[in-house]
């Protein structure tokens, strides 16, 4: 027992403190990080105006978190009033939303896709998708993942601006069983 001594006790206390600090940092706090304008490799550091531009982290750290894309849950940010983006430039046109979910079943072994019109119409206008990208009749558009990955259909936005295409389960969210049980 003597062999432990003071050194051992100090070691144990130190180890405990460090591990607790690491655990708190990993689970509790907001660990999101964004590259600043100066270090993003995209903006030219020789540009005299570069320092005038806002870095993403300054604004986005105040918005509700998400694990992908901008690391911001944009739908929540809008609904909860974190952001109040304009609807039109003249501020007269009201937001025309539609609360209707579409269930897309041609997904082979993947869970069915639930398309929520509401979240989309809060940002977009009907004409952004209809009739050019998607026909209004459910099931009339031959959507598939190959085309989506190449930037067609949902891929016009998802994978470029809206959440990335690596977030499979966010769209493929309805198990086949659950869909059958529905009346």
């Amino acid at each position: 027992m003597n062999t432990t001594g003071w050194a051992g006790r100090i070691w144990r206390v130190a180890l405990f403190t460090v591990s607790m600090l690491v655990l708190t940092a990993a689970s509790g706090g907001d660990t999101r990080k964004w590259k600043s304008i100066a270090e993003d490799g995209l903006h030219d550091g020789d540009n005299p105006a570069a320092t005038a531009l806002q870095s993403p982290g300054e604004a986005l750290k105040m918005l509700p978190p998400d694990g992908a894309g901008n690391q911001v849950n944009w739908v929540k940010a809008l609904r909860d009033g974190y952001v109040k983006p304009r609807t039109t430039l003249n501020e007269t046109t009201p937001v025309q939303t539609l609360d209707a979910d579409i269930l897309m079943k041609r997904t082979v072994e993947m869970p069915y896709v639930r398309f929520p019109h509401l979240a989309h119409t809060e940002w977009l206008e009907c004409s952004n998708c209809h009739e050019k990208i998607f026909k209004s009749k459910a099931g009339a558009t031959p959507v598939n993942m190959f085309q989506i990955l190449q930037g067609e259909y949902c891929g016009r936005c998802h994978g470029a601006v809206a959440f990335p295409l690596t977030e499979c389960n966010r769209c493929h969210s309805v198990p086949h069983k659950a869909a059958k049980e529905k009346p």
Partner: protein, 142 residues
């Protein structure tokens, strides 16, 4: 005496292992990309005109405007480089010029605020899923 040294050594290595584990975890959590998600570089004419290419940050604009303001009202196509934007059109109030007129947003005299990308950066949406899957390390790095 020997056991004490051994015990200390073992604890030391446990400490090192824990630190390595934590550092690895943080490295995974940290963003690996360069540009911000959905930053669009537009270089249809810039390089040829001796200007830096334009960086359009989607994140900055969607805090202030819904997608439809630009993509419906102003007629921006959902395609990087797919809008034949030039400075004449902007000065006439089309595309960026609908806001970048000194009233809603900074005016066209502030060239360097938009024309801010590293020269020769091609037109593209940065950090897109396709870009990351095809060129995970970022193809822009020379």
């Amino acid at each position: 005496m020997k056991t004490e040294v051994l015990g200390r050594l073992r604890r030391f290595w446990i400490g090192v292992a824990m630190f390595a584990f934590a550092a690895g975890g943080l490295a995974i959590l940290a963003p690996e990309g360069n540009a911000e998600y959905a930053d669009v570089v537009i270089n249809n004419y810039s390089d040829k005109a001796g200007m830096r290419p334009v960086v359009f940050p989607h994140w900055f604009h969607r805090v202030r405007f819904r997608c439809k303001v630009c993509h419906a009202d102003l007629g921006f196509q959902f395609k990087a480089g797919g809008n034949d934007i030039n400075m004449v059109k902007i000065i006439e109030g089309q595309f960026c010029g609908a806001c970048h007129n000194g009233e809603i947003a900074w005016s066209v005299e502030n060239c360097n605020l938009c024309h801010s990308a590293v020269p020769n950066t091609p037109t593209q949406v940065h950090e897109s899923t396709l870009q990351k899957l095809v060129a995970p390390a970022g193809d822009r790095k020379k």
